[in-house]
């Protein structure tokens, strides 16, 4: 069977990717529109970026969002990696079924339910909503994504290395830090990236769990969008798209380099033997 692209396949690819990218492209192009009317082209201008820079509401929200995303992604990476270790390394412990259920359920749970339930918890224990409640909520949601990413890497990890270190007297925590973590590192980094992006992006859970003074960027954009389409939203969207695109491409290149280096190391190690 030939693997070449037939005309049909070529058309599918072109149409499919046009559908995926045209809306984003239009958004970016029109963020440089001089006209106040969003859908009428009035010449090239960066005025909406300038007006964005003077908009305290957006800047404050962006700052809150970045701090929440950084903290929650870091916490989620620690907890998610632990959860993945627990699931891969320990086939049996009391309540394992419940635990694996709780790790995977948030992946498919509708966000409105997760958001509502966390809010009701915070109200029930009388914890004031704000920066920390959003951070904790995002940690809970994203640790599951980290666990899935890290788990898939841990499964193929050769345990004998770590066991050898432990037989030689290395404490388990140290063996994890010195041997396992450097090997699974790309997956841990990818998990952090995923958690960070999911937190940046989240509207629904943040809306339920945040309080006064902790308005995140998606919440701000959402309330603005409900009032109507504005060129400023196009500008802020373009900035967010650019940041994410650069981040994802950099991460992809980084992981590929790591992977190549790891393979080279393994080849060298094999030759020594």
């Amino acid at each position: 069977m030939k693997r070449g692209l037939s005309a049909f396949n070529l058309v599918s690819l072109v149409l499919g990717f046009a559908f995926l990218y045209l809306p984003i492209l239009l958004l970016v192009v029109y963020s440089f529109n001089a006209s106040q009317l969003v859908t009428v082209w009035g010449g090239f201008s960066t005025r909406w970026y300038a007006s964005l820079m003077g908009n305290r509401l957006f800047l404050d929200a962006a700052w809150v969002t970045l701090r929440v995303a950084f903290l929650s992604a870091t916490l989620a990476t620690v907890l998610g990696t632990m959860a993945a270790m627990a699931l891969v390394r320990h086939a049996r412990f009391p309540g394992r079924t419940l635990f694996s259920g709780m790790v995977f359920a948030p992946l498919v749970m509708p966000e409105v339910i997760t958001g509502l339930s966390l809010l009701l918890l915070f109200v029930a224990i009388g914890f004031d909503r704000g920066f920390w409640t959003v951070t904790v909520a995002h940690t809970t949601l994203t640790l599951c994504f980290v666990a899935v990413v890290v788990q898939s890497r841990l499964v193929s990890f050769d345990r004998s290395l770590e066991e050898a270190a432990q037989d030689l007297g290395c404490p388990p925590a140290k063996a994890f830090l010195l041997i396992t973590l450097p090997v699974i590192w790309p997956a841990v980094a990818a998990g952090w990236m995923l958690a960070f992006t999911l937190s940046l992006d989240d509207l629904v859970i943040a809306s339920f769990t945040s309080g006064p003074g902790a308005t995140t960027l998606p919440m701000r954009i959402y309330s603005q969008v409900r009032l109507g389409v504005t060129p400023e939203i196009n500008a802020i969207s373009t900035i967010m798209i650019a940041v994410v695109a650069v981040g994802v491409i950099a991460a992809a290149l980084f992981t590929r380099r790591q992977e190549t280096r790891r393979r080279a190391d393994e080849r060298l190690a094999a030759q020594d033997v």
């Binding site: 069977m1 995926l20 859908t39 498919v108 509708p110 981040g247």
Partner: protein, 300 residues
Amino acid sequence: MASRALRVNWWKGAVIGVPYLWLLVLFLVPFAIVFKISLSETAIAQPPYLPVFDWTGVSALAGSLRQLGTQSYQFLAEDPLYLNAYLSSLQIAAVSTALTLLVAYPLAYAMSRAPGGLRPVLVMLTVLPFWTSFLIRVYAWIGILRNEGYLNQFLLWTGLVDTPLTIINTNTAVYVGIVYSYLPFMVLPIYASLERLDPRLLEAAGDLGCTPLGAFWRITFPLSLPGVLAGALLVFIPAVGEFVIPDLLGGSQTLMIGKTLWDEFFTNRDWPVASAVAVLLLLVLVVPIVLFQRIQARAA
């Protein structure tokens, strides 16, 4: 060696215990609270429901438990709005899933037939939109689908229509939004199953006189079904509870349960009814979620 066993146990306990406790307190207990509040009475109070659990003693706690009721559920059963919202959510999610499949299959198929070096790039191009903000991708469609939006401008310019089409604020706009937002979730599992397909099967079919279309229908398509099913569930489950897309692209006649829950909570401030809506939404989704877990477990 006792100290070594102790150290291993300490490590094992921490690795299991810390995330376990976190999820127990922040995932499972909150659901219990939602369930409990769905059985409470609506009240004009802070927080707006009765009874609040009285933790001061066993008898006080038993007293608050006795006050639990099913008013919220009766309320949901009596007002046809809620039943319609559940049914309409299921319908919108089912139609969107079918449409997503129609768009995703040819794309995934073409990707799996692309030259080997190109395939990782195509996968990357499929995943990239997923990394850009969901809210912004939905927002982009407002600009396209509005009456004076890019699509209508284009259609008027080409002379295909004389008057602008009304797409925004209809269910059609919701379908477009869901297909667009969830497309990668459908493409990737289908691509994965097509990529694994052994090309020798198709060669054998060809040698035995099967036409390419016949070989597709008898071999390729059936073997891609696990991917299709996984993709369909990955689109269907979140689509049922979707809030952002129907809120921004749908109109007043678009009825979806996620939006109903949101309005019940934020607009009517009726926490017990919002909780009851959440409990029933979860019940509706139990079957597809369990089905999805089964498929994942079998694939692993």
